[in-house]
């Protein structure tokens, strides 16, 4: 062996263990299961906290103001134009068969059952889920969450539950407003582009709706509200890696909550259609 100024303890360097594909997949599966477990625990606690004191009513009202009132402009604007564009798209098809009067039925059903809850859910997720994640994430990395615990406050009660409750209460309201404004947009669009009578459009839009349609839209909006708040809280309270981690958590919150909203929408629609057939 050649002389070296550095002390050499082993003649052969030990090659670092390279993990196999199976090991990597197993680790990913473990991590995923662990995350789902933590998310489920956080969500469960957010709801069970309501059964005992302390309850942070003022914090909940503040969050309702932030999530509900704060999201109103984007919900109003997008709701109006989605209703309008729906009429333009469906109306052009109905014109081919001379059935433009059916536009109100279609737009109303699409908005109440599907577009209202989903678009509102996605918009509020984009605005609030990211906001929740960045706020809680920043609190975590600056030890404010630890300070809260050190002073005897349960962060789950103080930070998570008010946001979840506020979201559960405001997202259905925002959805209702979005649907109403969407129908207004559709009405304006149908009057100006399809030359339909505004009263006829409105009458058909309302008449097309059944109780099961309202229930479908309403229940979806509650679940979407729950998803966007809990995902935001989970991502914020599991931040790792300082301010860079906060940025990652914010992006993740929007991505995960949006995907969960879209995926759950499919299953909720299937369930709602089944229930509409069997129960309502």
């Amino acid at each position: 062996m050649a002389e070296t100024p550095l002390p050499v303890s082993h003649q052969h360097a030990i090659a670092p263990d390279t993990p196999s594909v199976v090991d990597v997949l197993r680790d990913i599966a473990k991590q995923t299961v662990l995350k789902i477990q933590d998310y489920s625990k956080l969500s469960f606690r957010a709801l069970t906290n309501l059964s005992s004191k302390p309850r942070y009513v003022q914090d909940t009202l503040d969050q309702m103001d932030d999530i509900g009132v704060g999201s109103l402009p984007i919900v109003l604007l997008s709701g109006f134009f989605i209703g309008a564009v729906m009429v333009l798209q469906t109306g052009s098809q109905f014109e081919r068969f001379g059935q433009t009067s059916l536009t109100g039925d279609v737009v109303s059903l699409a908005l109440v059952r599907e577009l209202g809850p989903t678009i509102t859910g996605l918009l509020v997720a984009g605005r609030c889920s990211s906001g929740i994640a960045s706020e809680l994430g920043s609190m975590l990395v600056t030890e404010q969450v630890d300070a809260m615990r050190a002073m005897g406050t349960d962060p789950s009660r103080k930070l998570v539950t008010p946001r979840v409750v506020a979201s559960l209460m405001t997202v259905p309201l925002l959805t209702t407003i979005s649907v109403f404004v969407g129908l207004l947009g559709g009405m304006v669009s149908s009057v100006f582009s399809l030359r339909l009578n505004a009263f006829t459009f409105w009458q058909r839009a309302i008449a097309a709706l059944e109780f099961s349609d309202l229930m479908q839209g309403f229940s979806k909006s509650i679940i979407f509200g729950f998803i966007l708040a809990t995902v935001g809280c989970y991502q914020g309270l599991t931040v790792r890696g300082g301010t860079q981690g906060v940025g990652r958590a914010t992006t993740q919150a929007v991505v995960v909550s949006s995907i969960l909203i879209i995926v759950s929408d499919t299953f909720l629609t299937k369930l709602a259609l089944y229930l509409a057939e069997k129960v309502f």
């Binding site: 302390p54 609190m139 600056t142 030890e143 404010q144 630890d146 300070a147 809260m148 615990r149 050190a150 002073m151 005897g152 406050t153 349960d154």
Partner: protein
């Protein structure tokens, strides 16, 4: 707030660590740490960065659970308590975080009053107590400011005021002078000294600055004359100060200021430079 200077240091242990282990990602940070802090004693935790000083404080406050070993604080077995009981226990312990950890969306007043607000006290009860502790840290004029409008030293002082709002018998300080200039550091140490000598709190102070420990060991605050004096030999028993040096996950040295000063150990001497 009634000031009650301690007459004698009590012999009952306020904080007791027995063979405590904690680690993250397969690496043990603390490997069998044992020590005792008596009531009204000041224990200065010395060590390099990453030796587990903050972990020790967080475990004493029940913010972290050890992997092995027992921790007893004020007669409560903290290491075996669940989160619900820990929330109640933590109200008896004040914690001063390294960067203050003030709630950045709340004013100084609301930060300091946080604990009392959580306890459901009325505005009439909260206001004088907040004013009193802010006067204690000489920051009564900052009540309506946000933490972002304060200097680093002022944030630490507000953090101290917040920690002592409900008169905890134990206060844990996580590097309270880290990153501060010498004059501000001296202000903070004087404040800790006053807190000890006026209210008789037991302190666990993590630092990597030996001079902080010696300032606490060698000086005393007289509440009557409101001045800081060099401690006489007869004062030593009133609020004793001891040093605990952590190294490689274990207690490397435990002793009085005189013992660490007279030590010939090369590692300890590096702290004295």
């Amino acid at each position: 707030m009634s000031s009650s200077a301690p007459s004698l240091a009590c012999s009952e242990p306020a904080i007791q660590f027995s063979d405590v282990h904690i680690g993250f990602s397969d690496a043990d940070i603390l490997r069998g740490v044992s020590f005792t802090a008596q009531s009204r004693e000041t224990l200065v935790l010395l060590g390099e960065t990453g030796t587990g000083k903050t972990l020790t404080l967080k475990m004493a406050a029940g913010l972290l659970c050890p992997d092995r070993g027992q921790i007893e604080v004020l007669g409560n077995r903290v290491s075996a308590m669940d989160e619900h009981d820990l929330l109640a226990f933590r109200r008896k312990v004040g914690f001063v975080f390294q960067e203050g950890a003030l709630f950045d969306s709340l004013t100084v007043r609301d930060n300091v009053a946080y604990r009392l607000t959580e306890d459901g006290l009325s505005e009439q009860e909260i206001a004088p107590r907040v004013e009193e502790v802010l006067r204690f840290v000489e920051l009564e004029h900052t009540m309506d400011l946000l933490p972002s409008e304060l200097s680093g030293g002022m944030r630490r002082r507000v953090s101290i005021a917040r920690a002592l709002i409900n008169h905890p018998p134990i206060v844990l300080y996580d590097s309270p002078t880290a990153g501060l200039d010498p004059i501000t550091s001296q202000t903070i140490i004087t404040l800790i000294l006053r807190l000890r000598d006026v209210y008789g709190v037991t302190s666990l102070l993590a630092t990597h600055r030996l001079q902080d420990g010696f300032a606490l060991a060698n000086f005393r605050f007289d509440p009557k004359s409101r001045r800081v004096f060099r401690e006489s030999d007869s004062d030593k028993n009133l609020a004793p100060t001891r040093f605990l040096v952590l190294r490689d996950g274990r207690v490397y040295f435990e002793g009085s200021p005189d013992e660490i000063l007279s030590s010939k150990d090369p590692y300890l001497q590096r702290f004295l430079i």
